[in-house]
């Protein structure tokens, strides 16, 4: 029953404030009734005012329980009433009585809490300054005529000191509390995963007051964690740092590597002291952050760790702030993936729609043209020049139709440019197909053995290989084709060698479609040819697609 009442009251700040007000009203009434000058309720000004305030406070509590709407509408009036009661306590009652001094401090504290709950900490500063000014004014005004023997200055200093102390605590608490309300970290969709992580580093350093940060993030579908930091020259090389979430099982940790000290939450609302293990120290050393904050990141779309260093000061309160930063960063990375997913699904839908349109219009027209041409062709003498012309046109249409079908297939596939595929595996699969199709030997040699490139690049490279092998067999009568792909830090070099009889000219122009494709990828194509060997050398700079 009691727990139920507490839950009901704590369900909203408005109810809690109304409850505090009712308690304050009853306390004030009790204080008035035990006034040594007259025990019990007497028809004196203080008894009447405080009884009235207690009654209004109880009514406001009842309203807050019944109607959140009315409670909100009445809040400004109740707030003014609270201030008015404070003024009455300070100016009308005997401010030198210890009970009234304490209750004035209590009322002021209540008003500050009320302000902090309802508005921001800047409004709290205004309210606090107003309360202090009222306090000082009342001390001076009432002290002038006070018969208690203390000097005005003594009284002023005593009361102003207490009020100042309480005010500073409350303003600081309000400011600290406002700091816990961090903004969302993604105003715009970042261009890449790496940019998203870098954005998170900036966000975490700004939110924590640190100067350096490192983040590692592992998606369930990725083979290795991504790492980013703003450590500058001290940044460890990719692959040299284990995933940061391996640093600790605690969700958040304040650490000092030199002294091997750490603070971690115990999960029951308390904080525990820990000694950093040698493994933890070694890992922190590798990253290059000696002291600061570690936060585990757990989200729907992945997990990871965040290290923040260069903090102005280390203390236990960083644990709460770190948890908040961690949840914001995790949510931000989730938001990024969700936004990316929405974008990808939209792109895929649009691509399928374009593929459908191409299929329903141009592809059908090309097919229709083929039938028409065949019809004309059948009316001509088989070996006439016109028949040969039509055969050439038919071949051109068929080639275009095949290209269009490939384009449609590419549009219909689900791979997007930010999907990475293994070019080596794709080329090996293609070589087998081409070998069967053209009844020739197609061999693939690649270095390294795994070469992850955007799906679109793999598709384009495969198209070029198809065409090159087709040309080699059909025009050069080649029986063997060797495909060699070498990746360096600067580019990917693709060489296609065949044993056909080659071009007539020793320095031929590259086939237009192959050269166009290579140019579109920002690459180049060179041909060297002699009888028995023709070699196409493609180069695709990494900058163009990375």
């Amino acid at each position: 029953m009691f727990a139920h009442i507490l839950r009901t009251l704590a369900a909203s700040s408005g109810r809690m404030i109304a409850t505090y007000r009712a308690m304050l009203g009853l306390l004030l009434l009790l204080l008035a009734m035990i006034d040594p000058e007259g025990i019990g309720f007497e028809r004196e000004i203080d008894d009447i005012v405080l009884a009235g305030y207690a009654m209004v406070a109880l009514v406001l509590l009842a309203i807050s329980l019944k109607s959140w709407w009315l409670e909100f509408r009445l809040f400004p009036y109740a707030y003014v009433l609270d201030f008015a009661v404070f003024v009455v306590i300070r100016f009308v009652f005997d401010p030198m009585m210890q009970g009234y001094i304490a209750i004035a401090v209590g009322t002021a504290t209540f008003i500050m809490v009320e302000t902090m709950s309802r508005w921001n900490w800047q409004k709290l500063v205004v309210a606090t300054v107003t309360l202090n000014l009222l306090c000082w004014a009342s001390s001076l005004a009432v002290g002038m005529v006070n018969p208690h023997g203390l000097s005005v200055i003594d009284d002023f200093l005593r009361q102003a000191g207490i009020f100042c102390f309480v005010s500073i605590i409350m303003v600081w608490t309000g400011y600290w509390r406002s700091g816990l309300q961090l903004p969302a970290p993604f105003p715009r969709l970042p261009a890449s995963d790496e940019m998203a992580l870098r954005h998170m580093i900036e966000y975490a350093t700004e939110a924590s007051g640190g100067t350096v940060a490192a983040i590692s993030w592992l998606r369930p579908d990725a083979s290795e964690a991504q790492f980013a930091s703003n450590l500058g020259e001290d940044e460890p090389l990719p692959g040299h740092v284990p995933p940061l979430h391996a640093l600790s099982t605690a969700p958040v940790m304040v650490f000092d590597r030199a002294r091997r000290r750490a603070l971690v939450p115990d999960g029951n609302g308390d904080i525990r002291l820990r000694r950093l293990t040698p493994g933890q120290c070694a890992m922190l050393g590798k990253v290059g952050v000696d002291n600061g904050l570690f936060v585990r990141l757990e989200a729907m779309t992945g997990s990871g760790g965040l290290l923040i260093g260069g903090l102005p000061a280390l203390d236990w309160s960083l644990l709460e702030r770190g948890s908040l930063i961690g949840s914001k960063v995790s949510r931000g990375l989730d938001d990024y993936r969700y936004a990316l997913l929405a974008q990808e699904t939209a792109v895929i839908s649009q691509r399928r729609s374009i593929a459908r349109d191409l299929h329903d219009s141009i592809a059908q027209s090309l097919a229709g043209a083929k039938f028409w041409l065949q019809s004309y062709r059948n009316r001509l003498q088989p070996d006439s020049e016109q028949a040969r012309e039509i055969d050439r046109m038919k071949s051109a249409f068929e080639a275009e139709y095949d290209n269009l079908r490939l384009m449609i297939a590419r549009l219909q596939c689900n791979e997007l440019d930010n999907d990475r595929v293994d070019l080596v595996a794709d080329l090996e699969g293609l070589a087998e197909l081409l070998g069967q199709h053209w009844r020739c030997e197609v061999a693939v040699h690649c270095h390294p053995r795994i070469l992850r490139v955007p799906a679109s690049l793999s598709h384009d490279v495969q198209q070029m290989v198809r065409e090159a092998v087709s040309n080699a067999v059909r025009h050069g009568e080649a029986t063997r084709v060797a495909i060699d792909a070498q990746a360096t830090e600067a580019d990917i070099a693709l060489a296609i060698d065949d044993n056909g009889h080659g071009f007539r000219s020793p320095s031929p122009s590259p086939p237009a479609s192959l050269a166009d494709r290579a140019n579109q990828l920002g690459g180049s194509l060179n041909i060297t040819t002699r009888p028995g060997n023709t070699r196409l050398d493609f180069r695709f700079p990494r900058l163009e697609w990375q």
Binding site: M300, T301, Y338, A346, I348, Q364, A367, G368, F371
Partner: protein, 211 residues
């Protein structure tokens, strides 16, 4: 001279096919642009061979063929399509089409296919036979959504539309944590690892529902 009906929603292609077949000595008695129109024209013109495209407005070529066979109409049917998915190819074969030809094949093959069909033979290109054998050897394809229970299906559809767990939870009256747990179950059931995989798997079904 064989009386032929052509059903294809692309006028230029129909006229090209008609020209080719006319030159080959056949008579095109009807040229229509939908499955329904094809059925009506069959009743009216009584063609000896029917050429049907697969994708047409209305019921399409596969359904038109199935209705013909269901009504006891056994006249030769040639399917002429740009592309045929596995389900349609299986349905075409089961319904008893006499020939299946792709539009990217050499045009003269269509004349051969019509002649073969008209003489009661079947005319399936080797690549079509190969695909049919491959489909027959595979276990029945069950769509991603079919493998999920109704609640999981709702969640998967919303994920594919780009909704977030919180939004899905609010829409379905469950908590974000419950959505997360449902998603883990869905991932395990479909053998995928993340939302992108789920969205890509479910998208074709969603597109199918939207058709």
């Amino acid at each position: 001279m064989t009386k032929i009906l052509i059903a294809d929603d692309h006028h230029f292609l129909r006229s090209g096919v008609a020209a080719l077949l006319t030159d080959a000595g056949h008579e095109v008695v009807a040229s229509v642009d939908s499955g329904e129109a094809a059925l009506a024209a069959i009743a009216e013109c009584d063609p000896e061979v029917v050429i049907l495209d697969v994708r047409m407005p209305g019921i399409g070529g596969v359904a038109a063929l199935e209705r013909m066979r269901k009504a006891g109409d056994r006249r030769p049917v040639v399917i002429l399509a740009a592309e045929i998915d596995d389900d349609d190819l299986l349905a075409i074969s089961s319904a008893g089409a006499n020939a299946v030809l792709f539009k990217h094949c050499a045009p003269e093959l269509l004349v051969d296919a019509v002649s073969a069909a008209e003489s009661g033979q079947t005319y399936f290109r080797p690549e079509v036979i190969g695909r049919l054998a491959e489909i027959a050897a595979r276990p029945r394809k069950v769509s991603a959504l079919e493998r999920l229970n109704p609640k999981e299906r709702l969640i998967a559809q919303r994920v594919a539309r780009g909704e977030r767990n919180r939004e899905i939870g609010e829409a379905l009256g469950i908590t974000e944590g419950t959505v997360k747990s449902y998603l883990h179950g869905i991932y395990a059931k479909l053998g995928i690892e993340n939302r992108t995989g789920l969205a890509l798997l479910v998208l074709p079904d969603l597109a199918g529902e939207g058709r």
